[in-house]
Symmetry: C2
Subunit: 164 residues, 2 copies
DNA sequence: GTCAGTGCAAACTTTTTGCAACTAC
DNA sequence: GTAGTTGCAAAAAGTTTGCACTGAC
């Protein structure tokens, strides 16, 4: 599905959601949806805000962004993550489920896919709970920081050779 | 392992960590570690702060709590979660790995264990990444909110029977 | 015309930072 | 003695809220 096609589809889904829940179909809301579906990867409210300012198509306030993104999450068109300090969001329609590797040293976030993992999680029997979606965050060291730490360790060991 | 035993062990691990990294072994740090290992389940900084105030053993400032908890995370004695608005923490030594179910409606968080899930995640081959720990958050509806929503749906359907 | 939605600014919450005083080493 | 830590208060960062105005229905 090409990009424009996706955008059309999500607009339609959003319209249905708004109708079903008695919300108004304001141009702000569609502009926000459109912008979000132009972004690849994660973004936070502030990034989205500047992005919409710059593209000068439509100026919306931060408050509206916060309001609208809640609607989009409920319409299952956006997923919310909370890695660092500010909440990160991500479009979720027509996107491959992926997992996140977060480096504890430098904070970098990378995505990866793993079908086995996915199917096991999706097929897990949950008691008294209706699954909507899930997030798997794997914390550790990215290769860059791993190398940096190794170098440091060698230095340390040389300094205290007598310790076991 | 009983509770006191765990506390002694984590003190020892913490001491080793502090020594290894050239940090001072202040009474504040041990008091914080001790308090955290008296808490079952999740807590946020504010809860920890009040808890330490009330038990009047030791008064520490919020700033120190934030500083110390970073050390504890690095020493792998505490895990950080970010569900709601404030960061949640949890002791991690000698605790069974568990996953989290988060209700999107009421925000309640419940834990569950699943060995299959655990082993699959732990055995996942990661490229260029050294795993330290992971968090699986499952979002959806808890049984309480599920029932509430069903009731609402029935009402809605009665109101608009002519829709497919 | 009405009321949900918007923009703006102020308020609020959580976390970080600067600095003087303290203390583990 | 000295530099890492602490407490406090101020600042920063992210999010929510109150209110007057606007525009979708």
């Amino acid at each position: 599905m090409d990009n424009q096609n996706v955008k059309d589809t999500v607009r339609q889904i959003f319209t249905e959601y708004l109708n079903a829940n008695g919300h108004r179909k304001t141009p702000e809301r569609y502009a926000i949806l459109d912008t979000i579906y132009s972004i690849d990867g994660h973004f936070d409210i502030d990034t989205l805000f500047s992005l919409m300012l710059n593209q000068e198509k439509f100026r919306v306030s931060r408050a509206t962004l916060y309001n609208t993104i809640i609607l989009l999450i409920n319409a299952r068109l956006v997923i919310k993550h909370q890695f660092g300090n500010s909440s990160q969001y991500e479009k979720s329609y027509n996107c491959n489920t992926h997992h996140h590797q977060i480096c504890m040293q430098c904070g970098s976030v990378s995505e990866f896919q793993n079908n086995d993992l996915q199917s096991v999680i999706a097929n897990t029997k949950l008691s008294r709970f209706q699954l909507s979606h899930y997030s798997l965050y794997i914390y550790g060291l990215c290769s860059k920081c791993m190398r940096a730490r190794k170098r440091k360790k060698v230095t340390n060991n040389n300094n205290k050779k007598n310790e076991s």
